[in-house]
Amino acid sequence: MRNRFEDNRFEDMVSRSLDNVPEPRDSEIEALRQFAEALPRREAPRMRNMTYAGVAAILVLVVGLTVRQFLFFGTSSVGGQDHLVDTLDPRYGRCYGDQQTVLAAFAMDHAADFTTHFPHADPLHLPEVDQPAFVVVFAEKWSGGDLPGRPVGSPTSLAYTDTQHDVCVWVGSADSGEAYLFARVNTADFAP
């Protein structure tokens, strides 16, 4: 058989054979044409919509967070640093955050974490140190008269330095916890 097909003749035969390859039916070409036509609708718009939806979601999130930040959170400064004031937490009110200016208000997983946040503060005498807690740092000396809750320590007539503040710690849940107030807490290097 090979004798009948010299190299060039064999190549010619290959070419001719391939010219006879079956062609697609018209219905198949039409199906492919419709498939091509539908691709932008199936792919691009979906991608664009996803992009728009994604951008919209991000914008809503950013706006929401910004609004939340400005409406319900504030930043204040202790020791020259800005700190978060979480006014949304119900323990904020329990700890008298709404009674005078607050420098910082934040939650702690455990009451025992207090010294982590206030590295130079004297150890507090807190019960249930494993309980979740909420801290409110007052900007000025407590002026609410007799300290509510269970005061620990007492404000003095001495002027406070920039790193001394009265602090309320709410220990326990919002419904069943208890407030502890501490006077002249050393807030140097304080970090929420």
Partner: protein, 178 residues
């Protein structure tokens, strides 16, 4: 005429990239039949050409932004078709064996039968051998163009085509003896 065609191609590509499905359909339509046959030849008797064709259309659509020269769309699109067909050949799914049509025209019956035998022999080759043979003898591409189509170096095209043709001859002889 060429300039007008080029402008039309550029316009269709631009519109397609912007999400115009009708434009994309118009862009690919002139090449669909040839592309279908290309896919059919490369993926062989084990696959349905419609599968790689749809894959190729999808990948071409997604990559259309990367097409630097719209006037080279045909070669670029066939590259997508070849790639999809080779991939389908690996999957080895279903489909009818590639059979040449019996043309009552000028070819003798013997030649037609020989052509069909040769097509069966081509179908029996490995997909990458089929691809290089189809690129040369069906699309009529040069070594350089074939290399571009199949994403292989030009030197590899030469060696692969040579060995593929040797295997085709052997396969053809085997078919003839059956």
């Amino acid at each position: 005429v060429d300039i007008a065609m080029d402008d039309r191609l550029r316009n269709l590509v631009t519109r397609s990239v912007s999400g115009d499905g009708v434009a994309f359909s118009e862009l690919v339509e002139p090449y669909l039949r040839e592309a279908w046959s290309l896919a059919s030849l490369i993926c062989g008797h084990r696959c349905d050409p419609m599968d790689p064709m749809q894959d190729a259309l999808l990948s071409a659509w997604k990559d259309l932004r990367k097409l630097r020269e719209p006037t080279a769309f045909r070669a670029w699109f066939f590259k997508h078709v070849s790639r999809a067909a080779l991939k389908s050949a690996k999957n080895e799914r279903r489909g009818a064996q590639v059979e040449g049509r019996m043309d009552p025209g000028e070819d003798s019956i013997d030649r037609q039968v020989a052509g069909r035998t040769l097509l069966r022999a081509i179908s029996a080759l490995a997909a990458r051998d089929r691809a290089v043979i189809v690129a040369r003898y069906y699309l009529g591409l040069t070594d350089k163009e074939t290399g571009h189509l199949l994403s292989i170096p030009e030197g590899t095209v030469k060696s692969r085509l040579s060995s593929a043709m040797q295997r085709l001859r052997a396969s053809y002889d085997a078919e003839e003896r059956r």
